[in-house]
């Protein structure tokens, strides 16, 4: 069952053709990884999936992107889309408030006011993000005092708190040490039972360890899309081979 379908999608930044005729169907409860050199459009594509590109001046998109068959650039409310499609950013971006308020921000945004309900969501999200034990005694402390790895897992918990269906991860571990990275990778594998995860990564070993499917992008074009095993053991396209074996350019 495909969660996200992208068909014949083109994206322009002003006159720059950033994504060319991308067609990509991503299955539910799987981890899809986008790989490719910097500037290949993979992050741009990721941001199109929750319409974060709307904020960018001069960004034009054509084609068809659907979530569960529903056109996300059609009549769907953008805030509802972003509730359904959560995002974790490259740099951990906790809000300058307490751990608790960080997690509760999303649910509160979507109308949950009951203290008991919020308490439950905060605990559940932190547990899901495997950081409850570390943070349960400092819920009232500022989130900015946490370590980088904790901050990033807090951001994952914050994203989970609004009960999304899809989680977009934009190089979510690129600024973290190996231990924190490992924890987040483990977390992804655990989360995919309940969520569909789409990640952009520069770390090919990470794509190998975590993802089920991998799409390789080059110069705005989707060159190859297949199971991760197939892409990394027997890539079909010469450019993919060159890139993943490090003989690119």
């Amino acid at each position: 069952m495909d969660k996200f379908t992208i068909d014949k999608m083109n994206l322009y930044y002003g006159k720059f053709h950033a994504l060319k005729d991308v067609t990509l169907h991503m299955p539910e409860n799987k981890i899809t990884a986008f790989i490719g050199p910097s500037g290949c459009g993979k992050s741009t594509l990721l941001k199109s999936l929750n319409r974060m590109n709307d904020l960018v001046e001069g960004c034009k998109i054509t084609g068809d992107i659907r979530l569960d068959g529903e056109d996300i650039y059609g009549n769907m409310d953008v805030n509802v889309l972003r509730k359904r499609v959560g995002m974790v950013f490259q740099k951990a971006n906790p809000f300058p408030m307490s751990v608790y308020d960080n997690i509760a921000f999303g649910p509160r945004t979507h109308g949950i006011k009951s203290k008991r309900e919020l308490d439950r969501i905060v605990e559940e999200s932190l547990r899901d993000a495997a950081i409850w034990d570390e943070l349960k005694d400092r819920l009232k402390k500022s989130a900015l005092g946490l370590s980088g790895g904790q901050q990033q897992r807090l951001c994952i918990a914050r994203a989970l708190a609004v009960k999304p269906e899809v989680l977009l991860m934009d190089e979510a571990t690129s600024a973290l040490d190996p231990i924190s990275t490992g924890k987040i990778e483990e977390l992804c594998l655990k989360l995919k039972d309940d969520y569909t995860i789409i990640m952009v990564t520069h770390n090919m070993q990470q794509a190998l360890r975590v993802s089920d499917n991998t799409a390789f992008f080059l110069l705005g074009e989707m060159v190859e899309y297949n199971t991760t095993d197939a892409v990394f053991s027997s890539p079909k396209d010469k450019r993919t081979e060159e890139y993943i074996t490090g003989r690119f350019g």
């Binding site: 929750n50 974060m52 904020l55 001046e57 805030n79 509802v80 889309l81 972003r82 509730k83 959560g86 995002m87 950013f89 740099k91 971006n93 906790p94 809000f95 300058p96 408030m97 921000f105 999303g106 945004t109 979507h110 500022s142 900015l144 005092g145 951001c155 914050r158 994203a159 609004v162």
Partner: protein, 302 residues
């Protein structure tokens, strides 16, 4: 976790990474110019500090002996030039001015920083205008206030006319600092908030404004400083009535104006010095209070 070493032990440590006096002298011998530079900047710092200390001490020395109970008596008359009414007037004026200017200032800052297209013509024009207005001498505002509020709107010399004039005067300051404060809020906060499905309004009110608050407050404090110290713009708008301001359209004098008038008349120079001390304490108090508030907000953040 590193072991905690006792402070006594730390005191005994002789660090190798600190220059000894001998090493320092050696390095100056090699580069005499850097010694000259050091002496010059040290001298500059010393003179500046000395000038400030001199003024404060001078005001205190001349003023404190004149801080008599009579100076704070509740009523003003030509025999006892009490500054009590002007203290109250100053507080009222400040509050009213801030009340008028802050919503407009922050509102337009939010528009410029969050809503207007980045680098649009309008934003540039508004910014240039704000900067120009911030540099105009206050007497020009006073003149404008007199012609517009006092005569055209026929408010007379009044609290309202004074407050509106000063509000216009401090608006650019508040607006610019608030805009700067909003612009320094990292975009990652906005992304994070939008990413959770929060709308623009919620993002601004719940995430951006709290983050920018210390910066915004700094602008407001600057504005308060200007309001409290202002004379020229007030003489033509708020007037210099000696009593308490009893209503929006009632005239009065602020502490700074009071001091100006006393000095000008030349009859109550001693009381003017006393008033100067009061003004000094007031400004000091405002600064301390605002530093405290800023720290409070900062603590909540960091």
């Amino acid at each position: 976790m590193a072991d905690k070493t006792g402070s006594a032990e730390i005191a005994e440590i002789k660090p190798i990474n600190k220059l000894t006096l001998k090493q320092r002298l050696m390095s100056y011998k090699r580069k005499p110019l850097s010694l000259v530079m050091l002496l010059l900047v040290a001298l500059a710092a010393l003179i500046s500090a000395a000038a400030l200390v001199f003024i404060i001490v001078y005001v205190l020395v001349r003023g404190i002996p004149n801080l008599t109970p009579e100076l704070f008596s509740l009523t003003y008359n030509s025999d006892n030039v009490s500054c009590m009414p002007s203290i109250i007037n100053t507080v009222l004026l400040t509050l009213l001015t801030i009340l008028i200017s802050v919503p407009f200032g922050i509102g337009s800052a939010i528009y410029l920083a969050e809503y207007a297209k980045k680098g649009s013509k309008l934003v540039k024009v508004i910014r240039t205008m704000a900067e120009t207005l911030a540099g105009i001498p206050s007497i020009v505002y006073g003149l404008f206030g007199m012609l517009f509020f006092v005569y055209t709107l026929n408010w007379g010399y009044s609290l309202l006319a004074g407050a509106f004039t000063l509000a216009i005067m401090v608006l650019p300051t508040i607006m610019r600092t608030a805009e700067e404060a909003l612009l320094t809020v990292p975009d990652s906060y906005r992304e994070g908030s939008f990413g959770l499905g929060a709308g623009k309004l919620r993002t601004i009110v719940r995430i951006i404004l709290p983050s920018a608050m210390p910066g915004i407050l700094a602008g407001v404090i600057l504005a308060v400083g200007r309001i409290v110290g202002e004379t020229a713009a007030l003489i033509y708008t708020y007037g210099s009535a000696t009593g308490y301001t009893t209503g929006l359209l009632s005239s009065g004098r602020s502490l700074a104006v009071h001091m100006y008038v006393l000095t000008n008349e030349g009859l109550h120079t001693d009381q003017a010095w006393g008033t100067a001390v009061v003004l000094l304490v007031l400004v000091f108090g405002i600064n301390t209070l605002s530093a405290f508030i800023a720290k409070k907000l900062g603590n909540k953040k960091g």
